[in-house]
């Protein structure tokens, strides 16, 4: 169920960024965890292991209860690994930060199953930062969430790297590609 065009669109950005200069490569080689600080999209390994064939999905508890219509509820399909307040409840949207906040330049990533098209997608969870905490619609979903030694899948880090303020406000869930 891999869609080459869209996924390549996403990985193309990745490749462009990787080629954008020696200094960044220098940083990346030190990071080692495929985690980058500054670019618009985070540098991520593709999560192959948790992808599901469309025909025979073995669903997690979250996936069994996931819905595709209301992005202000914790069981909206994209929120499979979100930890925090939903920006959809705070004046933002599923991939939009509320006014007065900035999206983090890095993010953690989940692989979520969309019950409508039975595909799995890569979701970048970007924190929105800069203003008093929203405190609405708090969710703590943990499908595929990993400890800090796998930071790109960790939802407890305040992911406000690269923003002018690290005050946590809420979290978004942008679709960044199809999981293999």
């Amino acid at each position: 169920m891999f869609d080459g065009r869209l996924f390549e669109g996403w990985s193309e950005k990745l490749t462009r960024r990787l080629a954008s200069g020696t200094s960044r490569r220098g940083v990346l080689s030190r990071v080692g965890l495929a985690l980058a600080a500054a670019p618009v999209f985070p540098l991520l390994p593709v999560d192959r292991s948790r992808a599901h064939a469309a025909t025979t999905p073995r669903l997690t508890e979250f996936q069994k209860n996931a819905q595709v219509t209301d992005d202000t509820r914790c069981n909206y399909w994209r929120y499979c690994a979100i930890d925090g307040s939903l920006c959809s409840c705070c004046g933002g949207g599923v991939h939009s930060c509320p006014p007065g906040t900035q999206p983090s330049l890095t993010s953690w990533v989940g692989t979520c199953y969309n019950p409508a098209d039975k595909r799995s997608y890569l979701i970048a969870y970007r924190d929105c930062c800069g203003t008093s905490s929203c405190r609405q619609c708090h969710c703590d979903n943990t499908d595929g969430a990993l400890p800090t030694y796998r930071p790109q899948a960790n939802n407890e880090i305040i992911w406000c790297f690269g923003t002018s303020s690290m005050a946590y406000h809420c979290s978004t869930a942008a679709l960044v590609g199809v999981a293999e």
């Binding site: 869209l6 669109g9 906040t101 999206p103 409508a116 098209d117 203003t131």
Partner: protein, 377 residues
């Protein structure tokens, strides 16, 4: 369907066109929609001012604010103002008293105006307010002498300090008028000149500050200069704010409902006003909304089990609404098709029809409310 017609020859899923793959998305930041009079501004104990659209009961945005902040709006929501105190090392370091100016469209910080001080207390409307035209800001200070710090909001600087000995709180009216309340039970008119300096010009004693004081959150229509100072017992003292201010005939909330007026007697259990912000006034209809509970004196912060609707022209009770959960703060939008807002101690916002008391919408987890504001623009 083709696959159905073909029966068992091909499974249906194999022939149906697969749904299109969802498109990838960029992250961005929303801006504020055009303000409307049904927006409600709620300050909470934990900090932050939440903006809620009463027409949807959804959050539109949040303005950053420290705990114990004050909050005010420019007309038409062009700017938002937060008066707050921040230390360089959270609970230690250097104290910074600030008036933080936010853009109404982006909610981005425009400027921190440094203040010479401010009272740090659980946020109340008369600790920080603006003139009716929004050109001047007034910050109440007490450290320990009482004073008003006047800010030029257009030029974004502090004009000056006016001492108001033995008085406290700020009730601006019109372009430059300011009233304050005094420890001896008087209302005082304060004249503040263009340099931000001034003095008390008149004093009108009208209440017993020790036995039956007026609520800090007594409602004032800044544009019209109409104030309703309401005592713990429920006596309404209408005052036309001006230079000098003039007192009108007092009336009783209980008498408006056909009851005896409340007294300070501990034995008298009756309906009394109470809560964090027990009153809201709608200038167009001249209606007063009051959170009421049954109880004894000295329970002035007790939440209201009912919301009373009173006609301030006839001094009559118009309606009584039972609340779903006890109300801690009440507000009413200032337009001609108003919405009524009740915040409860357990964090609910109830959006109500002011004519019928019907719950139109609700929002939970709003947090413990301190400040509540609406704007007519």
């Amino acid at each position: 369907m083709l696959c159905g017609l073909l029966g068992a020859l091909l499974p249906c899923t194999a022939l149906a066109a697969p749904p299109p793959i969802l498109e990838t998305e960029e992250s961005n930041t929303a801006v504020m929609p055009k303000p409307n009079p049904h927006w409600l501004y709620v300050g909470t104990r934990a900090g932050g001012v939440t903006i809620i659209d009463g027409d949807t009961a959804k959050i539109v945005g949040t303005i950053n604010a420290a705990p114990a902040a004050g909050f005010a709006l420019a007309p038409q929501g062009k700017e938002y103002y937060v008066s707050e105190t921040i230390w360089t090392r959270m609970n230690r370091g250097t104290r910074q008293d600030l008036l933080s100016v936010y853009d109404g469209h982006t909610l981005n910080l425009i400027k921190d105006i440094e203040l010479p001080g401010r009272l740090i207390a659980s946020g109340r409307t008369p600790y920080f307010s603006t003139s009716a035209d929004g050109l001047r800001g007034y910050v109440y200070n007490m450290q320990p002498a009482s004073s008003i710090i006047t800010i030029d909001l257009a030029k974004r600087n502090v004009l000056g300090i006016t001492e108001i000995p033995a008085c406290g709180l700020i009730y601006p009216h019109g372009k430059t008028g300011v009233a304050t309340l005094c420890a001896d039970g008087a209302l005082a008119d304060v004249a503040i000149d263009a340099s931000g300096h001034g003095r008390i010009t008149d004093r009108i004693p009208f209440f017993d500050a020790q036995q039956d004081p007026v609520f800090e959150e007594s409602p004032v229509d800044r544009a019209g200069g109409q104030a309703l100072f309401i005592t713990f017992n429920g006596m309404v003292h209408p005052v036309h704010l001006g230079a000098p201010s003039t007192l009108e005939k007092a009336w009783s909330l209980q008498q408006a409902a056909g009851l005896s007026p409340a007294t300070t007697s501990p034995e008298q259990t009756t309906w009394r006003p109470g809560g964090r912000r027990p009153f809201a006034f709608h200038p167009g209809s001249k209606r007063l909304y009051a959170l009421m509970h049954e109880g004894a004196p000295w329970e002035q912060k007790r939440s209201g089990t009912e919301l009373w609707v009173l006609d301030t022209a006839t001094h009559q009770l118009v309606n009584r609404f039972t609340l779903p959960t006890s109300g801690y703060a009440v507000g009413v939008s200032e337009d001609n098709a108003p919405l009524l807002f009740v915040l409860s101690e357990d964090g609910w916002l109830w959006v109500m029809d002011p004519e019928t008391g019907k719950i139109l919408r609700s929002l939970r987890d709003v947090g413990r409310t301190t400040l509540l504001a609406t704007d007519r623009s």
